[in-house]
Amino acid sequence: MPLYLAIKEVLQNKGRFFLICLIVALITTLVLFIAALAEGLAAANKEYIENLTGELIVFQENVELSFPSSRIGRSTVNEIRRVKGVADVGQVSFASGALVFEQVSPEGVIIPTTATPQPPLDVTLVGVEPGRPGEPAVLSGASLGRSRSDGVIIDANVALRRGIQLGDMITIKTTQGTSEEFYELMVVGMADKLQFQFLPSIFIPYTTWEKVRPKANNSVETDELVSNVAVVKLADPSQWRQMALRLEEQVGKIEVVDRVTAYKASPGYAAQQSTLDTQRYFTLFIGILVIGGFFQIQTLQKVAQIGMLKAIGASNTVVVISAIAQIILVNCLGVLIGGLGSYLLQLSFPVEIPVIFTGRSVGTAIISLLLIGPISGLVSLRSLLKVEPLTALGLAQ
């Protein structure tokens, strides 16, 4: 009975309810895109870390889990390797550089390396040990060879956009002292999901990386191989909590965390995510107010009609369920339209815009949006209950 009244009213006032559906659809689109943007920006920050083959990341202690500040030496890595439960360890270092598409000849002439001139692309140069944790799995081509080789793995998206193919030579520009230096490296493999702190990554064997990375003139030279962090692969990944403690106990001056803790400590990560979450919740709140407000106005307009229904014997339950069912119906339709609209819209987005629709974030957003209906219904519930059947006789106070 309540559903019958709810549906009949919607069908008889299609235009009005369609407009409300449209508002819900727009709110849905907004919430989904904010969620996708949050996911996209988070991915740009953490993608490489999140997809590491090791479970634990070892930082130097007292560096607040900062990748650039941390230093882990070869001797520490060897100590880590000896701890029971550690399957493998790989040293990983980060440096910034640029992928350029031109070269300067010894005579000072600029020579483009591609058919069409392209602007340089800032990249993270990641030094990894071939075959050890930290080296990404390749989508195509081969893994890194010896640590001295000049074969590198690059981001498949960058390759696609800049027309780079397996076997191509790429040019990396870094600053050595005060002068710019160019290094020719060969693309041996391609992998995806490799962004780190908003830059695409190029993976270089460790010794080559040492040579390529930007250096100041007064760099401290050490005898041992020093990296920013070490990535640890465990024999039993489910034991990561105990292993983190064990490593910190048995190897001195290190801080061991899991991947999630590591990327959450990245500069700006928490602030960025909380900003986007605030936007998301604020949009949901606006949605509740708009939908609730609309149905509240509709309830107030229908006082005489509701009074008549109550006078002829419709119970409060019938009246309330009918109104809430109507809100839920309109809301669900709106969310459906918004969801489909968002899907179609994102197909037209260029790849540079960091929007990623993941099942979890879309699911959370959709569930929250579906809750707008019942919560909005509560706004008009009191008004519905307050309508007296005496209204029908013009006697209500």
Binding site: A311, G313, A314, L395
Partner: protein, 246 residues
């Protein structure tokens, strides 16, 4: 014959102390099945308040009301709502129909509310509408019907679930004379045919020609009950002449 409705020394007092108003005071009457009664009186005489109490929408301050032997004041709020749904039929002055339901669906609404909608009852609803001259307007929405047609739909809705008591509050207020006569005449015929007890609240005495008894109220009291046919017709005729002279 057992009365359908018994009002025993019913009074309704609004407010308290010196500011209190006795809108209805010591009103008693009975109505038997098949009897159609007009509750008449000027504005403020207490007739609508009396109707609200008869419908269980207001609780009397004093006295009691029994419908089909059941005392309304002893029922809980939810039981009274259920009782109203099952045993009382209602037609109001305005906002009578649900705007998003067709004429036929409006009538069937009472059957739905009572969980009595089936093929037979649907046929009965269609027959009743046809009987009221609305066989070609069953699929029309209230906004597509004239005032008279809307009131006839309301009458059909008031009767379809076979209630003991049918109440109508000024159902002819917005109708022209001819339509008003038509509506009340049909109403009276159905009340008599179906042996229901009917009360029409009106200040238009011309409508009395179709009722069996006139209960006249003034300042909250019943000041006169007319049940003589000749007297009722004379009252209606006098009222018609007065209207014509205007």
């Amino acid at each position: 014959m057992t009365p359908v409705l018994q009002a025993e020394s019913v009074a309704k007092v609004y407010g308290s102390g010196q500011a209190s108003v006795r809108a209805v005071d010591d009103v008693s009457f009975e109505i038997r099945p098949g009897e159609f009664v007009a509750l008449v009186g000027p504005s403020g005489s207490g007739k609508t308040t009396m109707l609200a109490m008869l419908a269980g929408l207001l609780t009397p301050t004093e006295g009691s009301i029994l419908i089909g032997g059941e005392r309304l004041s002893q029922m809980s709020e939810s039981r009274r709502t259920r009782f109203r749904r099952r045993s009382i039929g209602f037609a109001f002055q305005s906002n009578n129909l649900v705007p998003y339901l067709t004429a036929r669906e409006n009538v069937e609404l009472m059957l739905r509310l009572n969980n009595r909608l089936n093929r037979q009852s649907k046929e009965r609803a269609a027959d009743l509408l046809a009987r009221l001259g609305l066989d070609d307007r069953m699929g029309s929405y209230p906004s597509q019907l004239s005032g008279g047609q809307q009131q006839r739909v309301a009458i059909a809705r008031a009767l379809i679930h076979e209630p003991n008591l049918v109440l109508a509050d000024e159902p002819t207020a917005s109708l022209d004379t001819e339509r008003a006569y038509q509506v009340v005449r049909t109403f009276a015929e159905l009340i008599h045919e179906q042996q229901r007890a009917g009360i029409i609240v009106t200040h238009d005495l011309r409508m009395c020609r179709y009722v069996d008894r006139v209960i006249s109220m003034m300042d909250g009291h019943v000041n006169r009950i007319i049940d003589d046919r000749v007297e009722i017709d004379a009252l209606a005729a006098f009222s018609e002449e007065s209207f014509s002279a205007q």
